[in-house]
């Protein structure tokens, strides 16, 4: 077989040298007979790049990529997408594996991506905030400092100063803390409106501090689900909606947490 393949690599059979592969996928093996209705078979000129084989295999089985990136393996060795088949010296009948990562592990969000999302959402939120008399301060937003501040009022006109740390936004919700006017006394109870959880935290899915892994009371929520509705209300999935919800709650709040 190896000798025969050497001949093929030299092109002795006429035409460009080719190799017949077998490719195991999650949905079965792609080979010269399976799937029976495949529009294409895994016979490739050896100059073909690995990325083309991946694309063809995905097309045959209808695999959707989204955030995942399909890879080919030979045994346990991953193959480089830009390398040609020839560089691996595969013989006819070589078995490759098409695989892809899975699961739901959140990945790091680049600060520049977070900043763009925050600025975009705050453009809309700013007009709303102005219309309800809430002050928004986002002049210090940078990729290194994904923080903006807001001043809310309750029904007696008392001021409450909130700090939104949006690191990893919009994948993860903002970390909301109440502070004094200068930005100090972060997270102290007497900085919070009395309507919130006594831990203290804003006890909503959109508040990172509400989650158990950040010391909050909610062990049954997952942060990556922060956009979802709860039994107590509909979904809140943007900074504008968060500001609106906080405004409504604080407005009805009689005073400060003790």
């Amino acid at each position: 077989m190896a000798e025969k393949n050497k001949d093929k690599e030299k092109g002795n059979g006429g035409g460009p040298p080719t190799v017949k592969l077998r490719i195991q996928t999650p949905r079965g093996e792609w080979n010269m007979t399976n799937p029976s209705d495949a529009a294409k078979r895994p016979v490739y000129p050896i100059s073909t790049k690995i990325e083309q084989v991946i694309a063809d295999t995905r097309a045959v089985f209808g695999f959707v990529e989204d955030d995942n990136q399909y890879k080919l393996f030979h045994g346990t060795d991953p193959l480089e997408p830009q390398r040609p088949l020839a560089s691996y010296h595969f013989v006819d009948g070589t078995l490759l594996i098409l695989s892809v990562q899975g699961g739901n592990a959140y990945q790091h969000v680049e600060p520049a991506v977070s900043l763009e999302a925050i600025q975009s959402e705050l453009m809309e939120a700013a007009a709303y905030a102005a219309s309800i008399g809430v002050e928004l301060d986002h002049k210090d937003l940078t990729p290194e400092n994904l923080v903006f501040k807001m001043r809310f009022f309750n029904r007696t006109g008392e001021s409450f100063f909130a700090r939104f740390d949006c690191t990893e936004y919009p994948l993860l919700p903002p970390f909301i803390e109440f502070t004094d006017e200068s930005g100090g006394s972060v997270g102290q109870k007497n900085m919070y409106p009395s309507c919130f959880h006594a831990s203290p935290c804003v006890c909503m899915r959109y508040s990172r501090k509400a989650y158990q892994e950040h010391g909050g009371p909610h062990g049954e929520w997952r942060m990556i689900d922060w956009h979802l509705a709860t039994s107590g209300g509909g979904p809140i999935g943007t900074l504008g909606m968060i500001i609106s919800d906080l405004h409504a709650k604080i407005l009805e709040c009689p005073g400060r947490m003790q």
């Binding site: 195991q24 996928t25 999650p26 949905r27 079965g28 093996e29 089985f61 209808g62 695999f63 959707v64 990529e65 989204d66 955030d67 995942n68 990136q69 399909y70 890879k71 393996f73 346990t76 991953p78 078995l95 594996i97 098409l98 695989s99 892809v100 990562q101 899975g102 699961g103 739901n104 592990a105 959140y106 994948l171 892994e213 062990g219 049954e220 929520w221 997952r222 942060m223 990556i224 689900d225 956009h227 979802l228």
Partner: protein
Amino acid sequence: MQSKKVYITDVLWERSRRLLNSFAAVGSEATEGIVYWFGFETADVGIVTTLLVPDATASWGCISTSAEANAEVLMSVVGTPLVLIGQAHSHPGSDVSHSPIDDRQTFPRFEGAISVVVPHFARNVVGLQECGVHRFVDGAYKNVPPRENEDHLVVLLGEHNFRKQSKSKSQ
């Protein structure tokens, strides 16, 4: 939402739950778990026969499987007629929705794939109605309304002993 109905026996359903719960029992911190469902498909139905647990990295609120870990799973079915039908994974609480990340990163990503979410780290015996059922339709995962769960996934009798208890001849 039209997709092939998937069948699994009650034995494999319960075994899936135990495998998911085995993640929660490892170490001091409970984590999400995952199990892949492989089996046979006809033109009309999918039948789960085989449960394969990838070498996943799990934590309290998430779970991930590398392409290498999934390739290891696929190596084990080479030369068989088994195909991936779907997966089950567990969530910490009662919420059995798919997150946007679940939607975009779940390993089975082809038309008709089924993804079942089991609540409370699969600690307790659960019925299908308590689970979230999601189908990959028209290029994306879609949530199945709970009242339609059995249109998509049917738990079959897998084992039952009909032997009647009777007096032995010697008595």
